[in-house]
Point group: C2
Chain length 416, copies 2
């Protein structure tokens, strides 16, 4: 009897994580070697709760529409499994669920934490003697996974950021003489500056926006920063700043925390743009505007990168191929070929070398003035935003297909 597969999404979703899911499910179907693909409702929690969605009930057109659908259609969650040794209960429960539904393949689609969880699940075979093959599939707008050249989801967020920076800068430029002189765009990236860096792709000429990029890898130097803004406004007439939510001051505190403490009560990230705006108000007295993209940047499927979409689909179908080759505890990663033309392939990499690591911007990618990136960084980033893949539209907005999301009948006692 063919083994079934379980697919789960983990952590923050992206514009193309569903594309990975769709490619995986369709590849499993094509292979004829896998029974059903179940999707865990709301990530690993659904696996523990036996909340399984039967994807075989969805039409082929619904499955294909996953390539166009942002968010996580089966739901995701933030939930990290502990070690097998310290929390055996969760693993034995997983095995019960796997057994009850004849699951032989577990595909876990997420970032650093998820690679860690997947690595632990991959050890079940050895440590708990249940035959499961576990493949982690990369996904994160943060682009901070080790080994893989880039992470599916990032390229589309990068394209959104570059395009938004370009468009807003044309707006600011037209009005700067009598109105706004400084525009600040806050982007995601708590520890790694990949998203902020991608705004540099908006430039055609040297004096084009963005003029300043504030990265979380660089300690914020208020004096240098303000002096740069002033110089740029004097020279250009306006200044466009892209700032990562994770920028910290010398004391190691997030800039957003320091403002938000009084006004907003708690230290949720996502307020560094108003902090920078306030600084420019009080110290330079320059009229400014600010935008915070927040979820818009990671869900903007309407402006997805075709290259990113292809990566997302390739890691999904490769996960199935690797599983069918008998692999366990690996991740299909994107490998960039050397040479002037952008070429890539998918190869398996061991989860032990990926779990819990965080890939920040290398020093060679950060400009000497610490407020920009180097040509080397641009050469790395540029291929990742290439190509457009427009979703179908209906009634003026992207068309979102209906899903049955039919739940599998439970056979186990409820969990916890």
């Amino acid at each position: 009897m063919k083994k079934n597969a379980l697919y789960a999404q983990s952590g923050g979703v992206t514009a193309v994580i569903n594309a990975t899911a769709g490619a995986l499910i369709l590849e499993a179907k094509r292979s004829k070697k896998i029974g059903k693909v179940f999707a865990a409702k709301n990530g690993i929690l659904g696996a523990l709760r036996e909340d399984l969605i039967d994807t075989s009930k969805e039409s082929i057109s619904a499955l294909r529409s996953l390539s166009y659908r942002p968010g996580g259609v089966f739901g995701s969650c933030r939930y990290k499994l502990k070690d097998i040794d310290s929390n055996l209960k969760e693993y034995t429960r997983l095995i019960e669920v796997f057994k009850a539904h004849n699951i032989g393949y577990f595909f876990y689609n997420g970032g650093n934490d998820s690679a860690d969880t997947a690595f632990k699940v991959s050890q079940i075979s050895q440590k708990l003697d249940y035959p499961i093959q576990c493949i982690a599939i990369p996904k994160t707008v943060d682009n901070d996974l080790a080994l893989t050249d880039c992470c599916p989801g990032f390229g589309s967020a990068a394209k959104y950021i570059a395009t938004s920076t370009l468009e807003a800068s044309l707006d600011v430029a037209s009005m700067s003489e009598t109105s706004t002189k400084v525009f600040i765009l806050e982007v995601m990236g708590r520890h790694a500056g990949w998203m902020a860096a991608s705004s540099a792709l908006a430039r055609k000429g040297k004096s084009d926006a963005p003029h300043i990029i504030l990265l979380p890898e660089v300690v914020f130097d208020q004096k240098e920063f303000l002096s740069s803004v002033k110089k740029i406004v004097n020279k250009n007439g306006y200044c466009v700043i892209v700032v990562s939510e994770g920028v910290k001051n010398k004391k190691g505190h997030f800039l957003s925390e320091s403002t938000n403490k009084d006004a907003f009560g708690h230290a949720q990230l996502g307020g560094v743009a108003p902090f920078i705006a306030e600084l420019i108000n009080t110290k330079l007295k320059l009229k400014n505007h600010w935008a915070v993209s927040d979820y818009l940047q990671r869900s903007a499927r309407h402006i997805a990168s075709k290259t990113d979409l292809e990566h997302a689909e390739a890691v999904g179908s490769s996960a199935v191929k690797f599983a069918l080759k008998g692999m366990n505890g690996v991740m299909p990663i994107i490998v960039r070929s050397k040479g002037p033309k952008y070429k890539w392939s998918i190869e398996p990499a061991p989860l032990s070398k990926i779990a819990n690591l965080e890939k920040k911007l290398p020093k060679s990618f950060i400009a000497k003035n610490k407020m920009d990136i180097t040509q080397k960084a641009i050469d790395y980033l540029m291929p990742l935003i290439q190509g457009e893949s427009n979703p179908p539209y209906k009634n003026g907005i992207p068309y979102i297909h209906d899903f049955k999301l039919s739940m599998v009948k439970k056979s186990l006692p409820s969990w916890k």
Copy 2:
């Protein structure tokens, strides 16, 4: 000798104001009845300073590319002319510039204030005996001009807002069980809620996002609002709120002002999302995220509405046609035909009936619960976001054509 024309942009730019400029210049060329079209650099200030751009130096492909270019290519400004009687100096200067460059047609592309300025300029012929035909051309993302059915620029902003609301809501929905429960999107609209209202176009089903729309036409009722958020989260698992920057409390103060007073020093609008977030943090203790679109929403040419683009081009070419018919002091407005199918035409309307008026959401467009819009509003809005018109891309971002922006030789003493 053929008269030349002067075109100027005014106030905040949009994703399609350049499309109006392009259509106007190309129509003037086609007519063979107008000499050159000069564009004032940075709006009416350029006209006063004799800073004129000779658009005849631009290639046809550059002029055609205006249909794809956000921002204002010739520059815009916020500058309102006073009455002829109280500030004759500015008008006599305008006449000097018109005379020096044989200008017989003045096209002024803007919102309420610009319609007022254009109306005053249109009176020059009568009051100061200089033969000038002045046509105001509508433009504003605020959609608040009187008489015209809608304003070019609005449909594209509306499409951006509806699409962003849809995409972000799919993101929030996937994570809501263990993460963010409330998402807040702040949109523009200081006095009129057209942009916030357009987020309702993101819905397919009744329980779809946005769940709450806060309009500037409605006084903010904190108790009702918080009770609604709570109910919606309990029922749906998450709640998406779209809030207009111009929402005010019972005392008539902008909500954004009340927060920003301490933290940001001055009363610049654009901080109502963090205010709402803080309210939800402290009163409901629900995890939330917020986004502020700011300039992104009015410059997002990459997701322009094709209908809006067609409106923008039609008002540009009609302005030339009306001028050549001898009209003065009019605006080409968009007139919607009655009947179930959306049809529209362009007709001239007198500036005296447009200048300084502000069209807010009518009562029949606001839902009974005051936190949503009616079906009548949706029926009005829906046609305006229909159709896609993708810009050409190069290197992964929208391609921006180079312009010569060749300045006309000055022949007058400098102004002021």
